[in-house]
Assembly symmetry: D2
Homo-oligomer: 386 residues x 4
């Protein structure tokens, strides 16, 4: 048995654009982008020649990176930056080499690159969340008065409407979206501090360079370097954890509504969810995959929050522990959102089954459910675009 | 051996006002307060007589609650509300009994009461965080230029200043404070939905009653009932988790700086931290207690995030799983903050030890550290009052 | 509103004997018991007079402990031991005072007391697990051939028997039981090391004293002091976490089987699970409470595993972080087990509903399910008594 | 910028053989191996022709698997098995195709393959743990009487010996090793149940086939199928979590001992741990990497324990959530162990620095420390080979 490489089964549940946006290679590319921005900003304040900065930028565009070799070297030294910087210095030539990575420390580049990756991944997540929310809003509007059994503790209680259920899904997704959008706008900052966070290598120009880099990279300008002040990472991780929770809720509801004995909804994707052995089965594959992805996110958030206590000017382990979980969390949450959006966009709703399960004759009393749906949709539409 | 009851060793690490604000009894009192507000709001829209609402309010003021008996009954029925409502109905007398708890479901009362408790506890946490941050700001200002070894991976790197270290502590605490203050302002909403979240028992007045309750109780008015839409709980839990991380960072730094071999800071509280056996020891008790409290918070946030997937109109286990961890988290984080504030306010700083460890002669190059401290303090002071 | 103290709403979901066995007071009593055992063992090797040991034992029997005051003092000093030892020394009188706590450090007493508490709580948990397993075994035997829809991904697949489902519940409970019983037999050791774990205060008799204490207290004799070697705590915490998982599985199945639309089982406890508003409802309260308790256990295990990295000879925070979560975990898991046992012992099974949901006529093909039940029951009965 | 694929930066902290043993490709190969064993066992009981089994085995040996395509198909159907079985059926030809995967369900193959992967990875982890423990034992023996400051709460307390510290590291590693070895011997079982776990597709031969497969694959024979009885996974995950804790303890101690101001140990690997900017720095890279890896393991264990509640006969999300975390945990823990072993095997110990920090003249009283080391080494050597 031999197998051809190039893809991984890890990707099995991975959906959405964050898979590529937060890949190892994308992260490496982001690090190069940060070095380019640092050089440009350093030139702007006169710390290095403009020609050097332009040379670094042009060379970086054609730079071929052997991620395997870089990973090997990184594994030996404990940082991917040295291997990257060395390649960049060789590529620009000996006259310009000194202008590469000037005054920076590894964490400046790694953290800023992580923020760039996060910006991109959050954009995808926010867009997918918005799509999922839109699908839920559509279900809410169409079924604002469709009676369904209200179920508490998984027992039928008094009636509600399917639309109100969907409107609640929508509102949870909206709240998660808004928080992530806010973090993208204000919480992701450039990192520049040098060896001990004092900007000692920049001759007093450090803060201007950081501000310039922030502008070029579309990140916030932090007040001071934040090497071991990790509330930004904590905020990001927990907003992603809350988004996972906002996805898990409708996903689990759909799985329950799709049960054979309930059969009030069905995922209407042809050729999916079938069973080779059992033709009658129709598994809500997308909702189940969303549940699986959200379940994975719990532990990733735990690790990121548990790693916030970072020692002195750079942590001995807790910083390094962030790298993989942060990118996995971005990928896993986007996967969850993408699966849920798929499920919601293809959801077949069975009002007749809802009525049958309810055992109601005539019009059951659904209280203010339709009015509450209207209220929820108004709030949904009144939100500023994320 | 006999022991007298009334206090618990659990309280050993518990500090701060949240211990009382989020106690079981306070939660019970909050539930009564919610019933009173519900009655008042119901009277306002004409659903029950004004005299009934006034009777409920006046009776509730003198109501004696036997928490032990209520806990026993609650344990049998799975909800503390029935026991409470029954006592309230008996207290107001048979004519008014029907106006108590009208149209509400247990979760309406429990959730709203939890939000009231959270409002109070967050107020305490925010105030204590502000105090800790102020102490860090003072250290930052006083030591803006006090040279200290920058330490990366726990190895001495290039110099920085103790003031910049303290300024970073301050900024982390400020970010955590601002997020919690924001959640208190907008994220804690009244809950009112009735049996299945449709406000069916309120004759079309449900939303007005909820709005009126929100005003009376100082909570937000949610768009619709949020019985199983738990992003509010997720937001609250994770903001508390991030606050714990913002506390853990300085607490751990202080423990490291106080090491015998480093001895750059000391907690200056007489009669604390000594060892009966070893007179020369001076343990940084407050910082260590802060670490212990933050360590506990990790798991509590995990449980709360993992419990966000709540089924249909009321969850079968995940809602009930929130109660204890949420209040413990409020208490534990306030304890952590209070211990840290204590540590910071009593911190004795040893510039001469910092210089000695640095092994520097003359003036070490601390880069822009003093200017960065000034910048951080400007940002600190420019914030709107939380 | 006033409330009488003495009980807490935290106790609401708390069931089983571990509530008392692992209470704060029980822990305090266990600490006194450890001091008595230390004195007796010290007398045995001739380190203190026999009469002193006897005096300490007799005095400790009548010692009244004001837990409130001890908690207050403990909170100031960061350890409950000093306050306890001081009281014990006063009680035995000045001549004997020097023989109290001789050579020991706080952690010796706290850890050994925790192990004593754990031994007792595990005994209760093991007994309750055995009871729950026995109830599941009974269901397995009675329904070895009762056809029920096999459900995969919550969709009906091919048939199985309810007995096989129950047999799987039983096997999971048995595996969790056996592991906890093994830990109780071999994994819970006495702690004695003195200030830095070298037994320096015992004149070369330390190991014999530890062995003697182990014998008297029914604990294992560790090879060496284990102040910061916390695999015993990790093993205990994770065995409890696995037990919670073994409980969560049947509890969740029962909640699903009891759904209104499925109605294949019901918890047959009169006057419980009813709804004041909805007489037709019959909530599976015990299974739901079990789910809630297991959900809480997740985070507690996380904190305990995350706290295993304890510095040098005594940790600065991670040890102190263990105390409350360890006892809460013992209580929560016993509560979960007790609720599940209650649910299983009162479970009403509806074979006719199972057949109806299956939609089968005649005898559905349940494969080897009955034979597998027999096999499982054989394995269950062949186990040595835990 | 372009990058060549084939390796990932995720691998940066990944060390040890589990990286390959638990890779996606290895998992795929293990699934093929399980199909071969199933065919052979089915032939043995006469369910399929012997020639079919032999054909399946010989074809599988040369089977080329395009993991990328399989991952794509798996992502669409929610299981990697269908894509794999289809390829295998095509490869063996139409006459034999029916004998492939006969009577099995996807989870039978995936779970059994996971157990095979776990067996291999645990073998590597156990061997690396044994190596790390041996290195710690060597340090213990060499420094049984080397005085060092005992440190409690990171403050110097009374003296101990470096050997006793190392002996404690060794004992923790040994306990973790023994538990993992026990799980490998008895806790990893073959999975065979068919669509609903009743062995319905095997004409009464199912249990014999499972037993035969267990023998061929070196796994345990479970009493009955364990599709949703996940205590085996819980046991495995938590034993790995405890192993991570046993690694984190010495790793953190080494980082602390290597601090500039303490300087009692150093990692003696040339060309590693240096800083491009600061030649005097010597970072304990291996210990720091071990800390980072153990930190990541916490969240993975959390997810696996939180996923144990699996519904009915196959879970809707929680089973699927196990796949990636389980393999990542195996890899991460082996990486942690390998880094620690590296650190311990290259550790340079500075007795003179220990004496200097201790500030002791003559022979400090180290109590029974040397005797305790001897005792620990005796216990270490008396263990049966893992």
């Amino acid at each position: 048995l031999t197998s051809e490489s190039g893809a991984t089964l890890d990707a099995m549940w991975a959906r959405g654009r964050a898979v590529d946006i937060a890949s190892d290679e994308a992260w490496l590319r982001a690090m190069v982008k940060v070095e380019v921005a640092l050089a440009a900003a350093s030139a702007k304040v006169g710390l290095i020649p403009e020609t050097d900065a332009r040379r670094i930028e042009s060379v970086s565009r054609d730079l071929t990176l052997d991620t395997a070799a870089i990973a090997r070297e990184a594994s030996a030294t404990g940082t991917p930056i040295m291997a990257l910087v060395e390649r960049l210095r060789i590529a620009v030539g000996p006259e310009v080499a000194g202008s590469v990575h000037q005054g920076a420390t590894s964490q400046d580049i790694v953290d800023t690159a992580s923020m760039l990756v996060a910006v991109g991944a959050i954009a995808a997540i926010v867009e997918d969340l918005a799509g999922a929310s839109e699908a839920a809003a559509g279900l809410g509007a169409r079924h604002r008065a469709t009676a369904i059994a209200g179920r508490t503790l998984l027992q039928q209680a008094v009636p509600t409407t399917f639309g109100l259920k969907a409107a609640n899904w929508m509102l949870g997704l909206d709240r998660a979206t808004d928080r992530l959008a806010e973090i993208r706008r204000t919480g992701l900052a450039v990192q520049l501090g040098g060896a001990a966070g004092t900007l000692a290598g920049y001759g007093g120009h450090g803060q201007r360079i950081a501000a310039e880099m922030a502008g070029r990279l579309g990140l916030s300008d932090p007040v001071v370097p934040w090497h071991t002040e990790r509330t930004r990472i904590g905020d990001l991780a927990s907003a992603l954890g809350v988004a996972a929770g906002a996805v898990a809720k409708p996903a689990r509801d759909i799985v329950l509504l799709a049960q054979t004995e309930v059969a009030e909804v069905e995922e209407g994707v042809a050729d999916r969810g079938g069973s080779s052995a059992m033709a009658h089965k129709h598994n809500p594959v997308a909702a189940i995959a969303a549940v699986a992805c959200t379940q994975r996110s719990i532990g990733l958030v735990t690790t990121l929050l548990a790693s916030m206590a970072q020692e002195h000017e750079r942590a001995a382990g807790n910083w390094q522990a962030e790298w993989v979980p942060l990118r996995q969390l971005l990928i896993t949450v986007d996967s969850a959102v993408t699966w849920l959006r798929d499920s919601l966009e293809h959801l077949i709703v069975r009002p007749e089954a809802m009525a049958r399960n309810l055992g109601s004759e005539g019009s059951p009393d659904v209280g203010d459910a339709p009015a509450l749906v209207d209220e929820a949709l108004r709030a949904h539409r009144a939100r500023p675009s994320p």
